[in-house]
Symmetry: C2
Subunit: 286 residues, 2 copies
């Protein structure tokens, strides 16, 4: 990376980190608002997290709400030197690593809902920097245990709008990527009903890639919150709850066996409580 470009990142890193913080604050406020509307007064527990090798974050978890049984929103800004495993994985992805130092910041969110008719959801956007390259990644996907085609269509339409504003092929490409990324090979099925996923996004126009990543973040609440409001009044049975707990087992399986962010977090020494915040409050396996 030329020196002038390297210097540009002195400004870009804090801008990206500030955006993720802003998005986190918006979402946390909106989720507490959903709880309030549902007559519950539970709030997020907010805990700073530390990464042994450098940096840390903010873990926000709301438990036992009327809307959310457990929802976690992680913010992280970390830096240090990548381990051998992470370097090998990135080299395999064709990424020029430089001296192995890195910086990364992002937001990660997983919501497990109280009502089995409300869909669980996952959202994550991040910026990654090494001396040789910088890129964005992320996406959002819906994980209902009881599927409603209208909900799936609404969620996808919001993600499509965010994509279409930036490139005509983004939605098609990133939807296909989500379908393949959130597939559980050993179960021969998808984790949920998809959404979008992208990684290694570095078009050569950092501002455009950053703007896209911001728009994906902005699309999240309009994609998700209306579904919660729509399904929250639906009464649920013991059988619905059982379906939900079994589906959560599948979700835990996916995250522990395949999820790239979880693997990176566990291998790079981030606070395990923050990395595993995505795991469901209760899950079942038959």
């Amino acid at each position: 990376m030329p020196e002038a470009l390297a210097d540009a990142f002195d400004d870009r890193k804090p801008r990206a980190a500030a955006w993720f913080r802003h998005l986190r604050d918006d979402i946390v406020a909106a989720f507490e608002g959903l709880e309030h509307t549902a007559g519950s007064s539970v709030r997020f527990d907010v805990t700073p997290t530390n990464r042994a090798d450098g940096g840390g974050g903010l873990m926000s978890v709301l438990r036992g709400g009327a809307v959310f049984e457990k929802v976690g929103v992680n913010l992280s800004e970390v830096h240090g030197t990548l381990g051998d495993k992470a370097r090998a994985a990135m080299t395999a992805h064709g990424i020029v690593m430089g001296d192995g130092t890195f910086w990364a910041s992002g937001i990660s969110l997983v919501a497990h809902m109280a009502n089995p008719h409300c869909p669980a959801v996952h959202m994550n956007t991040r910026m990654f920097w090494t001396p040789g390259a910088s890129w964005f990644g992320g996406g959002a996907d819906l994980n209902p245990c009881i599927e409603y085609p209208a909900d799936t269509a609404h969620f996808h339409s919001q993600m499509r709008m965010a994509c279409d504003a930036h490139a005509p092929d983004y939605y098609q490409r990133f939807k296909a990527w989500a379908d393949s990324y959130f597939f559980i090979p050993h179960r021969g099925r998808a984790r949920g009903v998809g959404g979008i996923f992208y990684d290694d996004l570095a078009t050569g126009d950092w501002e455009a890639d950053f703007a896209f990543t911001q728009d994906v973040g902005c699309a999240f609440l309009p994609a998700f919150a209306p579904l919660v409001q729509r399904r929250l009044p639906t009464a649920w049975t013991d059988a619905d709850r059982e379906t939900q707990l079994i589906h959560r087992g599948l979700y835990a399986e996916y995250n522990l066996v395949y999820d790239r962010g979880t693997k990176f977090g566990l291998e790079s020494g981030h606070d395990p409580a923050a990395v595993l915040m995505s795991l469901p409050p209760v899950a079942k396996w038959t």
Copy 2:
């Protein structure tokens, strides 16, 4: 491998497979006996399993007992050609692979108990064969969510006896191996209170290695059953149950992130229900 030795395996494979079947039958009968003594009439559900590429097994699961909330005993005899990932892993272990064909048979057991004072337990022994090498592996380890030093001591004493009958250094080596193998790096703690673990055992005397593997299997019931009988009458509280469910989350984490057998099973196309039989019936994450 010389031809005469290769021929010897025509006899050894069925002998090993028959032993694992015999051990499975003993354990299944003993566990149903424990349920019967506790006044419960639940029995194992027994299902044949298939592996796409060749072979299969027998999955036996008992659910909702007075003693066992869920216990699975898997028997497998599989063969085929190893995938690239499995070959690379074995080559890294210094194993001569030949043409990539393999045969394996083994028994695998995980018990999740109804009473949080009764320890969960894992046992697995197996024989693996390739044209270039053959070896045994396995072990047994105790996973109490509420620890009793006397139970840990009893379990280890039985494993030590099985080891000491074969080599003076086996117990020390295989206990240390279990301590390191069943350690959860991202949590910085052991999964349970240990036991023994061994792999790639090929001393050059197949009969001796087979006899040792049989003795580990024979040691399992005397190591475990008395602990169940001892703790079953202990009354338990909601807090004990919560401790148990959180500990089970840890167990699921270990199996999905690190366990060698689980990874091999999922990657080699074995029936996922059989591979994941080890997962707890219910688990919690805070």
